[in-house]
């Protein structure tokens, strides 16, 4: 079995600031991580490989420094890493990203054997559209299985897969065909610690690095800014509420009195609530 996992290197979101004048994101000095949701996808791929044999290829599209994310993925136990990097990809939105990645996956198929499953994370924490996965599926005509809570079985001979998919009000059991594209829910598995052996291997491994041309992409109008129908016009920090909260003074008060005071404060602001709660609460 050959499994491709798409991972993205993202800035650690807690540490982002906007430049007050230019309104651009200041990425300098912000540490990068593998998109947290992609780790569940990677783990699921490794788990399937460990059970049934085969190979896991990790793929990312990004700047040359995205190699760090790929090396990290190798330390978890991925077999091969492909970096798709080219200045033509700069400014890609999800449509352009899914185009480039699907071309690269096709090339991976030609070079290292066609994938049975392509995994993506549920969403990224920087672009977070949750659309690159479905985009790849559509372009490569793979069956699209999103929000998967469990991979129940895979029958490689019959090219069949059964999965549990979450919906708003329950769980669907689905049977579909390989090759397919799967996005997994967070928490579907527990992410392993890489072995020392894999860490050593990762440090020595060669990362397969492809330009647009190497990946066989000749229609550059579908890449980067030119291939992106959406454009970010403005980035800004959310505005806070003008006034701070009213604080209940806690000095020298019994808990019981404090509680009564808080409840009075609540019902003063939401008078209708008292009646509603008295009717259906308690």
């Amino acid at each position: 079995m050959h499994i491709v996992v798409c991972i993205k290197q993202v800035p650690d979101s807690a540490q982002i600031r906007v430049h007050p004048v230019t309104n651009t994101i200041m990425r300098q000095g912000v540490p990068t991580i593998i998109n947290p949701y992609d780790l569940f996808a990677l783990e699921e791929a490794l788990r399937l490989r460990d059970a049934d044999g085969g190979e896991v290829t990790v793929l990312t599209m990004g700047p040359p420094m995205a190699e760090d994310a790929l090396r990290k993925a190798l330390t978890y136990g991925a077999d091969r890493a492909v970096l798709l990097t080219d200045r033509y990809f700069a400014g890609s939105d999800t449509l352009a990203t899914s185009f480039a990645l699907s071309q690269a996956i096709a090339k991976i198929g030609e070079t290292f054997g066609p994938p049975d499953i392509v995994f993506t994370g549920k969403q990224t924490i920087d672009g977070d559209t949750a659309q690159v996965g479905p985009g790849i599926a559509k372009r490569l005509e793979l069956m699209q299985l999103t929000y998967i809570a469990k991979i129940a079985s895979i029958d490689l001979d019959a090219h069949e897969i059964t999965v549990e998919r979450r919906s708003e009000s329950g769980t669907q059991m689905l049977k579909s065909k390989l090759p397919c594209l799967i996005t997994v829910l967070e928490g579907i598995n527990e992410i392993r610690r890489g072995s020392l052996q894999d860490a050593l291997r990762a440090a020595r491994s060669e990362i397969v690095t492809w330009s647009a041309a190497d990946a066989g992409i000749d229609d550059l109008t579908k890449c980067g800014l030119r291939g992106s129908p959406t454009v970010v016009k403005r980035v800004f920090a959310p505005t806070g509420r003008a006034e701070k909260s009213v604080q209940i003074d806690t000095a020298d008060k019994a808990l019981r009195d404090l509680a009564d005071e808080l409840i009075a404060a609540i019902f003063t602001r939401q008078p209708a609530l008292e009646h509603e709660l008295a009717c259906d609460g308690a």
């Binding site: 807690a14 977070d128 669907q172 454009v231 970010v232 016009k233 909260s245 009213v246 602001r269």
Partner: protein, 369 residues
Amino acid sequence: MLNANREPPPPAAGRAGMKKDLPEHFKDYHHVWVFIELERGQVHPVSFELLGEGRKLADKLGVQLAGVVLGPPGEASWHAVAEAFAYDADLVYIVEAPLLGDYRNEPFTKAMTDLVNTYKPEILLLGATMRGRDLAGSVATTLLTGLTADCTELDVDPDGSLAATRPTFGGSLLCTIYTLNCRPQMATVRPRVMALPQRVEKPVGRIVELKLSMVEDEIVTKVLGFLPDAQSAKANLAYADVVIAGGLGLGGAENLQLVTKLARALGAEYGCSRPLVQKGWMPAERQIGQTGKTIRPKLYIAAGISGAIQHRVGVEGADLIVAINTNPNAPIFDFAHVGIATDAIRFLPALTEAFTRRLSPHSRDKLAS
């Protein structure tokens, strides 16, 4: 209306400066559509929330608001049609077919793209539910158009283009995104981000039906079964009027009962911040925030929650936010309406007791007199 007499776009000074030069064949794309999401006979309320937003956009653009119902033949689908009109749709497109019973990507994508290609909307809105996102991604890629996910604000510019604002970088920033020269402009919005509009009394309007040009044999993925969530396990958090939530400040899983007891006394739902899910103290469906549920209760009480931006974005729509936190400088006090800087572990039992006392039948009599 669009761009007729505009200057040509300035040369590539980055696309942000570019005008939306709409190709000729997209110029007859008009009206605002909302996907009416039907699961197991129920319309998801996010569809009504979107009709409310869609109404505002349509009025600004001077166009019509349409609901899109994709469902199995029969009562449920027609109920959804009636509901769309009750939330002020001007017309409803319906594709009714047995293949549109249980959700599957293939027939739903086919039905929606056929509708779009036939009737050409300029804006298409879907709920950012699992189904809405699954469908939106395939539809956008099939139509090769732009899609902005998880929007928190929608507006139209003077030139008629959709300005879709969404949080980015884990909620710490917002960005406004445009779809330049493709149609429709697609966006998804999470449940409860937009307020539920008033129902309107108006007669059922125009209904446009389209046949689904697909048969079961063409669909690879088969549904083997469906396991509905047990009623008890299903957290109805997003739509609760009162929500009590606990955070890491509660110290340990054994103190969660302080939160659930208060919730029970008030007939409220309970939830938590993300670390509690990560620690396995509460199931994921009870997480509130950017990567959990968005809530809009009349009353939200947060105990031992610091108020990180990712939590904040999920609760800002609450009418009244009450925070209990030992640290008087905790960020939650920046957006709570009422705060109390005290130990939640000691205070919550007293609060539960005081609420019970105040809401008991005895005091209810007092209230009535």
